[in-house]
Amino acid sequence: MIEAQGLTKRYGAKTAVDGITFSVKPGMVTGFLGPNGAGKSTTMRMIVGLDRPTAGSVTVNGKPYAEHRSPLREVGVLLDAKAVHTGRSALGHLLAIGATHNIKRSRVDEVIALTGLDSVARKRVGGFSLGMGQRLGIATALLGDPATLILDEPVNGLDPEGVIWVRQLARHLASEGRTVFLSSHLMSEMAQTADHIIVLGKGKVIADSPVADIIALATGTSVRVRTPDASRLTELMRTDAVTVTSAEPSLLEVNGLTAPQIGELAARSGIVLHELTPAVGSLEDAYLSLTQDVVEYHAGGTPAGASASPTPSTPTEDVR
């Protein structure tokens, strides 16, 4: 369980994280999405006390991270694969980190086997591929068998097999009742892994909902129509509730009418349709529309406090 209250981080004049409030619950995978520079990594660093919040607080399993008697058993964290001395072997690294918590050698061997590092465990980390480094980072996170896992971009640099492995691992850990909080820029990955998603944009929470709700945001909003008689069809569809945009002469993007309605309308008027496709919402579309909104908003120079983000059912959304 991770709970953030008005968590804020400023670097000089720049606000990286702007008073965010959220909670990450046990027993499910919570995704943390946002464009580069949205403040995801800063937030994760604040959770484990590497960065000190400018304001606000964050607790893990009820206490600030540093106040736990055995922090590695509470939280396992992969911040980036490069948090390892390049001159040391993977085994040496895990033994050294494990030693702080008196973690047994058998557990170190266990996480090495679990992450598929057996063959390279005695090699120096400097020669590791990005994927191997990532596996070592995950092995380090799992070392204390923690109740909460925080993984920043865990699939970065992994091959397809590794991506599937991380996905299964995250789901498995959540099924054991653990709290799993992972960030990714791969929306499709999130759709398959996460149960709940928190979207961060410009340091603010812009959505905090179950995956299904986020996808629903982008579903069924537009229909693509291809017809040689585009101008006549546009005339027929024109009402206050309908907007039609056209990227090329014979292609229309229709909002406000369903595909059957458009088809029937065309049939009554004898208009030939070459294509009639309802846009299938994806997490990616939803994510882009959410974050685009934030970006445009700021680009427009409107005061940030007046933001009305398209967030459905967000009880913990930032309301400042």
């Binding site: 660093r45 484990v48 006390g49 590497l50 960065d51 000190r52 991270y65 540093a66 736990h68 008697r69 055995s70 922090p71 590695l72 058993r73 964290v77 911040l79 980036d80 490069k82 948090a83 390892v84 001395h85 390049t86 001159g87 040391r88 072997s89 040496g92 690294h93 033994l95 050294a96 980190i97 494990g98 030693a99 702080t100 918590h101 008196n102 973690i103 047994k104 058998s106 557990r107 266990e110 679990l114 598929g116 380090t140 799992l142 070392l143 204390g144 068998d145 097999e161 492995w165 299964q168 691992l169 498995h172 850990l173 054991e176």
Partner: protein, 278 residues
Amino acid sequence: MTTVTARDSATLSTLTFGGVLRSEWIKLRTLRSTVWCFQILAFLTLAVGVLVALNTGEEGAPQAVQQNIVLQASTAAISFSQLVACVLGVLVISGEYGTGMIRSTLTAVPRRLPALYAKVIVFGVVTFVVAAVSILVTSLLAAALLAPSGVYPDLGDGDYWLALVGGATYLALLGVMALAIGAIIRNSAGGIAAALGLVLVLPGVIQLIGVLIDAKWLQNVAFFLPDQAGRKMFSYGAPNSVTDGIVSLGNWQGGLVLVGWVVVLLVLASVLLKRRDV
């Protein structure tokens, strides 16, 4: 690949300072560079000591001079090995900042200061032991090599042993001071430059200016710098005196001044480590 994790194998483990000490010991011995540096330190002490012993010797010298000859051979390498201790001291911590390892370290020890102090203790003790063993072995070799030229150290002389152990303590303290500098600067190149600047360059510069402008106080300041003060720890029977307005620190006083440097820099490093983001 499997996704099985075992909850029970880790359940008895908990964070302890002993564990942090062991972690730092594992870190120190699992890096090739540290192992090399300690080997170089030991080799330098022996090699330089033997060379000096082979080229000195004085028939019929007073006992105090004989003691001093063996001591100088045993500690002659410190002028070089202090550089190794400084570089290694800085690297022990700056290497973690350079590679990002520090984030793993401070995630495991989120209160931070125990990690720094464990580093100080482990690195200080290991440096002391390596230096002490090398210096003692060198003193035995030197004594053997000097015997033909009529130099026989009196092994019942407390000042003699104090100076030998003082040499090792000097290297350990200087290394720890460099570690504190590394923790403050958090960058290998900058940390090494600062540590060597303080130990090698600053004393000469201050002394030179002091002589040029004929300011005794400035020359005295130089004697309170880490290496000038610390070197008294392995000077044979150095007394504490003021002659002609120039201060000369004794063995213990010199050592305490160096300890002062270490403490001040460690306090600064602690405050910064606690306060700064990683």
